[in-house]
Structures are given as structure tokens and as C-alpha cells.
């Protein structure tokens, strides 16, 4: 069709508006001017918009940021109003001030406001999630003066041991040195940064690593659930259900990051289905109305159908293969359990044809075998039961769960709450799997969550049974989110109920995670005291704490003995006859912290002041002298064997 210039004749003004119209005669008067639906006038008696409706754009824009800033503003007040000296068996939940709870409420409010906004903003949701993590998982890092959890401090001792021995892991000290990648990695970071200690890293590691995990959950949920809101809910649900406390400065924390990366690759860019190109699983029915094929027939057809190809270009696919293989190979020397979780889940996905690149399983299996048989040879030669267990799953369950149900009332309630929370995770996952199956006819995800349960029979340590929940938790929370989404779509009135449930979940999280805070709390003065002991003790002496908590063995791991090895005297705090145990172990130096005193009182039901009384007894016997006692905290003390040599710490410098 040609067009004509509609500028008025004689007008040479090039700036004049030019309207182009078809060259045709006048429009037929019979034709309707438009086929659009007629505008329906609003009914005259319509109620005026409410205040909320009128101000919805403003609220959507500003409410979430304001609440997030308010949550952050509450944190300094939370530090001031939390009385850490009043910690008892109920843990952190009892001593937190009102500002800490307000910070949590504001953070949850920021998340929910942005979630319910008409157009949720991804940067705002990300920022609100970060604030939520800081106000829940990261609350101990905020209100406590140093990193909590004695094991985290012990791991800095491992890092120190590798750093001071020029990257060579010591042998014969601890089985964890057979998987030294995490320690070597941080020793390298420490040396490269010119730092002598990792105290600050330790303190802020939990919220930082949980943030990375939440990003992984978000990416995984985007692949599995789709949508713009559900992946964020999955991340929040994961953070809320993550009571397992494996996010301290530890190899398994990094291992979970790598596990989530590999799973995200497998279920995201590498994902495939055994379907025909139209998306129908199996063969289509031979004719309309034909009887459906029997189930076994459909299974055989499905197994025989090659998986379809991912849509990525080949070079991107190769890059993803490379990164996934790198993550698998990196986690093998890092942690003893995580590679098995990854490979179990990848093997399941490979069997059902859910991702391209099944060779990754082979690379991982051979890598694990190679590392265990060659690099970890001393471990399987001397401690083969670490790998094969004792074949008694009920004993593993008993040691992992049953034996931990000890302590005063607060401790017992906290530990039963952990079991309830684990049950809630699995219940959400199972019901969510049903919803997921109805929507996508797919039961593989629940299999992914169940595969790590095989670790239940593994005899490594007492925490194996607790850790395996963490390996399945990402998938369980994503399935649980599918259930919550179904509920909200079914009954939109459930939104406020779920918002209240979120508040309840996070309060429970702070209660459970902070339940042991009375004896996981560490003060900077504890670490300084231990470092002074290391600086003044001649190499070769035995330095022994009265129990696990506190910053013990953070330096000088390879040059001091730790005593022990006496039946029934593993922890002096829980021994029946502490004086006799000390006489048998005969340490040169005894170290005690306030956290050890609190552990004895709240977990082992000792009389308050038991550790001081023990020190007085040992001093009265003349076997030990009180070398140091903190003037502000009498439970922080160091006993030295009478007559044992002490060297000048200033002259010696750093040990090792």
C-alpha cells in the first residue's frame, strides 16, 4: 500500500507534523470505528478506594526498604540490651533484648512486604534476605563479642598448623587432617593477607556462608519451581529450617556451597527429561480415546527414550561441565561426607535421565576412590571403621540423637525442638513432593532428599545423623515451598497465617540455634588467655582443657600434647572423679574458660562453681599452682604443674 504526505500544500516547514495515512477513500460509514471492547463505565455505587489501595504504589516502593533499614538500626541496640552473663540452659532466647526481636520482626516484615508487592524487585528481595539472615542466623555474630562454638576455633588451630608448617598437614594428630583442603585454603588466604589470626573471619563466617547457601537455594528453586516469588520463599524457608549449625568455619560449610553449585548445574542448565520434543513423556496414545498403556510399559518406554538435549550452546555446556567437575573434584579433599552426598544425588539423576553429562558421576567416583586409596591411605589403614562403620545403625542413631538428650530443662526442650524441626522439614518435604508430583508427575526430587539418609549407618562421629538432614534440606525446603504455594493459591486467606508462621519459625530458629549459647559463647579474653599460654609454655608439654568449649588449640597444635586417652576421662567436666582423671592424665597445664563451667552446670548438671572448686582442690593438693586467673572472670584460669618451667612469652614469639 502506498502512502501520501498530509502536509498542507505550500507548507515547506520541515518541522511540521507529518501524518501518514493510507491512500483510500473515506471510511465506510457503516463500518464500526473499532473492534475493541466497549469501555464499561464504573458502577455509580462503587465504594471509593481504601487508603491501602490508594497508597499501594507508595507502600510497595518504600515500606520494604524502610523496614530493612529499621531492622539494621535495631542491631546496635540489640548488642547493648543483650545480657550475655545471664545465659543459662535456655540459651540466647532468654537474654535477647527487645531490640533484637524487633530487628527480626522488621526483617521479616521487609521480606514479606516486598514479596506481596505488585512487582517484587529482585535487588530489594536480595537485600531483605541479607538483612533477614543477619537478624536470625547472624544474630550471635552481632550480639556476641567473638565467634561462638569451640570447634570453629579448633579449626583455626588446624589452619595455623598448616600455615606454620609451610603447607604440609601434620600426621597422626587428627583424622580431619586427611581432608586438608579447607585448612590449606585458609592457611593460604591467611598468609597471602599477612594476617596472624582469623578471629574476625570466624565471627562473621556463619551469616556469610548462609547467604551463599541462600543464593544456591534461590538458583535451585528457580529451576525447580519457576516463578518470581517462590524461589525467595524457598531461600527463607531454608534459612528458617537450618537449625543444624554446620555453617560455622568448617569444611562442611564450604562443601554445602559446592554441593548446591553442582545440583544447580544439574537441575538447571544441564537438565533434561526423557520426553519427546513435544514434552509428552513416553509414547503418545495410538489414537484418541485409547486406553492408557500399563505402568510397566510406560516405564520401559521412558527408560528407552533418550534424554532430550539442553538448549545451551555447546561452548556454554562445556563450560558448565568444567565448572561442575571442578566443584566435585574440589570437594573431595575438603570433606569426607559431602562428596558422597553429591555423587548419590547425581547418580540418582543420571539413572532417571535428568541431566546431560553423566560422566560427571564417573569422574567423581574415581576421584573419591583415588583420594581415599592414595592420599588418605593412613586413615583407612589405621581407622577402617571410619569408612565401613560398625554396622549398627541403631547405635549410630543412639549416639547421634539419643545420647545428646541430656542437660537441664532448657537443654532438653531445645534438643527435642531440634528433632521436631527435623520432622517438620521432612513433613514439609513429603507433602511438597506430593504437590510437586501432582503438578509435574515427578517423584525424583524427594529421592534427592532421601539419598543422603544412607549416611545414617555411617559411623563417623556422633553428629553424622544430624548432618545428613542438612544434605537433604535444600530439596526438602524447595518441595515445602511448592506446598506453601499450593496452599496460598488454594486459599489466599492463608497469607497472613503463613506470615505469622514465618515469625514463629524464625523465633524457633533463634531458640534452637542459640540453645547451647551458654557454653558456646567465647570472649576475646578467652582467646588472648590461651595465646598467652601457648607463648609461655615450652614445646612438648601437655595442655589440657577441662572440656570441649572455648578457644582451645587455636595455636601450637603440633608442638603441644593434649593429654587424654584415659577411659572415662575424655571430658573432665563430665567425669565421675575429675581429680582422679587429672591425676591419671597428668597434664602440665590445665586451661578453663567460663564456657566450660557453664557446660558442666547446664549440660552435665554439675554444681555451679565446680570448675573453681576443682582448681582449689588441685592447688590445695600442691600438684598445681594458679598461674593466671582473669580478674574480671574467675572461671578463666590457667593451672600449671608445680615446678613446671615457664618461658618468656615476649622472647619466644609465635609458636611453630
Amino acid at each position: 500500500m502506498t502512502q501520501q504526505d498530509t502536509r498542507r500544500d505550500g507548507s515547506k516547514d520541515s518541522e511540521a507534523t507529518q501524518v501518514m495515512r493510507p491512500v483510500s477513500g473515506p471510511r465506510d460509514a457503516v463500518d464500526p470505528p473499532t473492534t475493541a471492547l466497549p469501555v464499561i463505565p464504573p458502577p455509580a455505587d462503587q465504594a471509593p478506594p481504601t487508603w491501602l489501595e490508594r497508597n499501594r504504589p507508595l507502600l510497595d516502593r518504600w515500606l520494604a526498604p524502610v523496614l530493612a533499614v529499621l531492622a539494621l538500626a535495631m542491631l546496635p541496640a540489640a548488642i547493648v540490651t543483650t545480657d550475655l552473663d545471664a545465659l543459662d540452659g535456655w540459651g540466647l532466647v532468654k537474654v535477647l533484648g527487645a531490640p533484637a526481636w524487633l530487628a527480626l520482626l522488621f526483617a521479616i516484615g521487609a521480606c514479606l512486604c516486598e514479596l506481596y508487592a505488585k512487582r517484587p524487585r529482585i535487588p530489594m528481595l536480595g537485600a531483605a534476605t541479607g538483612v533477614l539472615i543477619l537478624c536470625s542466623t547472624g544474630l550471635p555474630s552481632v550480639v556476641e563479642p567473638a565467634a561462638r562454638f569451640g570447634t570453629a576455633w579448633t579449626i583455626t588451630g588446624f589452619v595455623d598448623a598448616i600455615a606454620t608448617s609451610n603447607g604440609v598437614p601434620p600426621t597422626g594428630l587428627d583424622a580431619r587432617f586427611s581432608w586438608p583442603a579447607f585448612f590449606a585454603q585458609w592457611a593460604w588466604f591467611r598468609e597471602a593477607a599477612g594476617a596472624h589470626e582469623l578471629d574476625v573471619v570466624l565471627r562473621w563466617f556463619p551469616p556469610a556462608v548462609v547467604t551463599v547457601w541462600a543464593i544456591g537455594i534461590y538458583a535451585l528453586a528457580r529451576s525447580m519451581l519457576g516463578g518470581s516469588r517462590a524461589p525467595w520463599v524457598a531461600a527463607w524457608l531454608f534459612v528458617g529450617l537450618n537449625w543444624i549449625e554446620q555453617d560455622y568455619f568448617s569444611p562442611q560449610a564450604t562443601g554445602i556451597c559446592l554441593l548446591l553449585t553442582v545440583l544447580t548445574f544439574a537441575l538447571g542448565p544441564l537438565a533434561t527429561r526423557r520426553t519427546d520434543p513435544s514434552g509428552a513423556p513416553g509414547w503418545p496414545p495410538p489414537h484418541l480415546g485409547a486406553k492408557r498403556l500399563p505402568l510397566w510399559h510406560r516405564w520401559i518406554v521412558s527408560a528407552g527414550t533418550p534424554p532430550n538435549l539442553p538448549t545451551l550452546p555447546p561452548r556454554q555446556l562445556l563450560l558448565v561441565y568444567f565448572c561442575a567437575a571442578l566443584c566435585i573434584l574440589a570437594v573431595i579433599p575438603e570433606h569426607q561426607l559431602t562428596p558422597f552426598a553429591i555423587l548419590g544425588q547425581l547418580a540418582l539423576l543420571a539413572i532417571v535421565g535428568r541431566y546431560r553429562g553423566r560422566g560427571l558421576v564417573l569422574v567423581g567416583v574415581l576421584g573419591v576412590l583415588l583420594f581415599i586409596l592414595i592420599a588418605a591411605r593412613p586413615i583407612w589403614m589405621n581407622q577402617i571403621t571410619l569408612f565401613i562403620g560398625d554396622g549398627n545403625a541403631s547405635a549410630a542413631l543412639e549416639s547421634g540423637v539419643g545420647d545428646r538428650l541430656a542437660g537441664d530443662t532448657g537443654q532438653i526442650v531445645g534438643k527435642y525442638s531440634r528433632i521436631l524441626m527435623a520432622g517438620l522439614s521432612y513433613a514439609l518435604g513429603v507433602f511438597g513432593a506430593f504437590v510437586y508430583w501432582r503438578r509435574r508427575r515427578d517423584l525424583v526430587p524427594i529421592g534427592l532428599a532421601v539419598v543422603p539418609m544412607a549416611f545414617a549407618a555411617q559411623g563417623y562421629g556422633g553428629e553424622g545423623f544430624l548432618r545428613i538432614v542438612l544434605f537433604g534440606l535444600p530439596i526438602l525446603t524447595i518441595l515445602g515451598t511448592d506446598l506453601l504455594r499450593f496452599l496460598v493459591r488454594w486459599r489466599s486467606g492463608l497469607k497472613p497465617v503463613l506470615a505469622v508462621a514465618m515469625v514463629g519459625l524464625y523465633v524457633a530458629l533463634i531458640f534452637i540455634r542459640g540453645g547451647n549459647e551458654s557454653y558456646q559463647l567465647v570472649y576475646p579474653r578467652d582467646a588472648a588467655m590461651y595465646r598467652s599460654v601457648v607463648a609461655t609454655t615450652p614445646p612438648g608439654q601437655n595442655i589440657m582443657p577441662l572440656s570441649d568449649p572455648g578457644p582451645f588449640a587455636i595455636e601450637g597444635l603440633t608442638i603441644f600434647g593434649r593429654g587424654g586417652g584415659i577411659e572415662g576421662c575424655g571430658r573432665i567436666a563430665s567425669a565421675k572423679d575429675p581429680v582422679a582423671c587429672i591425676a591419671q592424665i597428668n597434664p602440665d597445664v590445665i586451661v578453663n574458660f567460663r564456657s566450660i563451667e557453664k557446660q558442666g552446670v547446664h549440660l552435665y548438671l554439675q554444681q555451679p562453681g565446680w570448675s573453681l572448686n576443682l582448681a582449689k582442690t588441685l592447688v590445695a593438693q600442691g600438684r598445681y599452682t594458679m598461674w593466671f586467673q582473669d580478674p574480671t572472670d574467675p572461671f578463666d584460669y590457667v593451672l600449671r604443674k608445680t615446678g613446671a618451667p615457664v618461658i618468656d612469652g615476649a622472647a619466644q614469639g609465635r609458636p611453630g
Binding site: P314, V363, L366, I372, L373, I374, R377, I384, I388
Partner: protein, 114 residues
């Protein structure tokens, strides 16, 4: 069976070679996708090479400790001593010493001795 730690480097090199072959095969497979075509000959050759490398690495692993571990796991025995793990080892008790022979009668004092 004694494990020679000096032989470990060949296992590491074998695994490295396996990774290289897998990488090359992945490159060839992904960059030469075709519709309704037979698997290219070079892909089949690389698949065969991959299988060979897997067999080599598995064989090396079997020699360098795999056999010992499998035997220990199957029989639940200690890898070094070969003693069963489930049964406590009875401490070796020295056999009771044979009763001492009766002392000889004291020799008769030499004549002239007091």
C-alpha cells in the same frame, strides 16, 4: 600384599589422563551434534579410549590399595594385621613358666673349708 608408595604417581597420572580424555570427548561430542546421524567415528574412538583409561585407572587403584580395602570391608578385618575387627583380640599371654627344677643338693664342702 605390600603397597609401593612410589607407584602412586602413576595412579595420579592415569587419573589426569582420564580427565583429559573425558574433556576431549566432551568437546568433540558437544561441538559435533547432528540430527539423525550416526555417532561420528572419532566420538566412538574417544569413547573406546575413555573406557580403556577407566580400566587402567581402576586397575591401578586395585593394585595400590583397592584390593586390600575390599578385602578388609568384605571380611571386616584390619587392613594391616588381617585380624577381625568385630572380635576383640585376646591379649597374648606368655605361657606359664615350667616349674623350676629342684635345686641340686648343695655340694659337699670342700675338704678343709669352714
Amino acid at each position: 600384599m605390600t603397597i609401593d608408595p612410589g607407584f602412586d604417581k602413576w595412579v595420579w597420572l592415569g587419573f589426569l589422563g582420564l580427565l583429559v580424555v573425558f574433556g576431549v570427548r566432551a568437546w568433540v561430542v558437544e561441538t559435533s551434534r547432528g540430527r539423525l546421524t550416526r555417532t561420528p567415528g572419532r566420538v566412538r574412538a574417544l569413547t573406546g579410549l575413555s573406557v580403556c583409561m577407566v580400566a587402567v585407572v581402576c586397575g591401578l587403584l586395585w593394585v595400590q590399595g583397592g584390593k586390600q580395602v575390599v578385602s578388609s570391608v568384605v571380611n571386616r578385618t584390619d587392613p594391616i594385621t588381617g585380624l577381625p575387627l568385630d572380635k576383640p583380640v585376646q591379649p597374648v599371654v606368655a605361657p606359664p613358666a615350667a616349674p623350676a627344677a629342684p635345686a641340686d643338693k648343695p655340694a659337699a664342702p670342700a675338704p678343709g673349708a669352714r
